[in-house]
């Protein structure tokens, strides 16, 4: 079967009397010829990598290579332990964890792309926080990853999970929807409720542009992961409470695709428009690449020449394919 529509997954899950996560497991086994145990074992290893990144980024401040960001996962983790936060500390923990993983990613550390590296904080953020709540077993969290995978497959196949193609709504938005749906199944919700959680979470992410400062996966990526972890949890709670997404989730996914296509190129991962184009965004770009270019000038390679090329925006003045070689 192909994962293209959520309503089909919901129908099939109901027909077979299984959760969406279990359906994903069955389909994965059918399509790959691997046993369910093998698939679960591999998924458990992905979860371990996620947890390692969470611990790494909260235990100590992780600084990114550019020096623009870093240490916020650790900072939030220390803050929530004081117990004075507006948001309940158990909830805020998901934010701290999501920030931590995103910082590990930006620091060229090891993470699991869920669905992408830029949005890799959200799912581990909410799931490791759920693990630490003591209410769920590790195996249940691994099953929740399969729920998230099924949702992500639908979005990837019928819309996009690439910031360059669909803006940040396609990355952080998809991750938020995946996390919301995963939490619904973790809590014992129905396949329909998973669908509504996806619809609700995505609706709150539509239109989100991809505007990384300096083209680096740091600003605004890291804080978006932290904040969208909360969005995911709230969307899950809303769906579990019986709130419905009036626009059916598949239509929300379809419109995500439409909006992505309508976004100007400057707001799709080119590091030109949006926050990247603010005075501070531009100054940071200058600072980071000025430093790095200076460092490279000491190096012996041909790449040096490429790095000294003037940056050209938007396709004018670049060399063309025919005269490239």
């Amino acid at each position: 079967m192909a994962f293209t529509h959520l309503h089909e997954l919901i129908r099939m899950a109901n027909e077979r009397g299984v959760t969406i996560g279990q359906l994903m497991l069955e389909v994965e086994a059918e399509q790959t010829g691997r046993t369910k145990e093998e698939i679960l074992a591999r998924m458990a290893r992905q979860f371990d990598v996620m947890e390692e990144a969470v611990r790494k980024g909260t235990r100590e401040p992780v600084m990114t290579r550019s020096g623009i960001t870093g240490g916020d996962g650790h900072r939030m983790h220390a803050y929530l332990q004081r117990g004075q936060s507006f948001v309940h500390p158990d909830t805020l923990r998901a934010t701290a964890y999501a920030l931590a993983v995103s910082e590990v990613n930006a620091g060229m550390g090891r993470i699991v792309a869920t669905p992408t590296a830029g949005s890799a904080g959200i799912l581990p953020g909410v799931l490791v926080a759920a693990l630490d709540s003591g209410r769920y077993r590790r195996e249940e969290l691994v099953m929740a990853l399969l729920t998230a995978a099924a949702i992500g497959l639908v979005i990837a196949n019928s819309a996009s999970i690439s910031g360059a193609a669909g803006g940040c709504q396609a990355e952080v938005g998809s991750a938020t929807a995946m996390a919301a749906g995963a939490l619904v199944e973790l809590a014992g919700g129905t396949p329909e409720q998973v669908g509504h959680a996806v619809g609700l979470a995505l609706k709150n992410s539509l239109g989100l542009v991809c505007d990384p400062v300096g083209g680096l996966v740091e600003v605004p990526c890291i804080v978006r992961n932290g904040l969208h972890a909360i969005t995911a949890m709230t969307a899950a709670d809303m769906a579990l409470a019986g709130v419905r997404s009036v626009i059916p989730p598949d239509e929300v996914i379809a419109v995500l695709h439409e909006i992505g296509k309508d976004m100007p190129v400057s707001l799709r991962e080119t590091g030109i428009g949006g926050l990247a184009g603010t005075p501070t965004g531009k100054a940071l770009r200058e600072k980071v690449f000025g430093d790095r270019a200076a460092r490279r000038n000491a190096g012996p390679t041909l790449a040096e020449a490429a790095c000294r090329e003037p940056a050209v925006a938007g396709g004018t003045g670049e060399s063309h394919r025919g005269d490239a070689s």
Binding site: N105, V217, V288, L302, S325
Partner: protein
Amino acid sequence: MKYQSAFDIIGPVMVGPSSSHTAGAVRIGNIVRQVLGEAPRRVKFELAGSFAETYRGHGTDLALLAGVLGLPTDSEDIPNAEQVAASHGLQYAFAKVNLGQVHPNTVLVTATGDTRTVQVLASSIGGGKVEVQELDGLPLKFSGERPTLILYHEDRKGFLATVSRILDASGYNIARLALERRSRGGEAVTVCEVDEAVQEDLVQALRGSIPVLRDIRLVYVA
């Protein structure tokens, strides 16, 4: 369907910061190395679209280089790819190009080893997945996710029939197949993805039974 496996979404395990720009770029580099089939001496990366705008920030340059050097997507050596390249005596260059209507994250890689040069046009399509768009200027698409045979041959009647007969007899199932030729009866390339891991005796069987087959490369970057 571009995305089929749960591990396309919950994965890959990779070194950051960007699945399109780092993990995907490593995979493209890995594919180029496998298509070349020997240690690269010189590599040129021509980047288009978002790749061109942000390659330095995302570490795409280091990732492509690491991939060509054969490092996997989760190697903690990726940040040090320049040093690794230097120690292997690999020369490399990056340039920006306009490739016309292609996916935003596209790169044209020209790699030269001791005996041959290959050119691969590939895109990083999101979540670390990649798609080769052209091989040596021929419109051949493949992802490298399944074991992929690249057959360099002369365009002859019955070639595909023979290939599929040998694959079938050896217990392989063809998942995707494409043939492109430069001219009728001239140089041709066939890309054949199979479901099973390719064993050396298959390569021998193909070489031994098809005189017009000049060369075989195996690509697999799962």
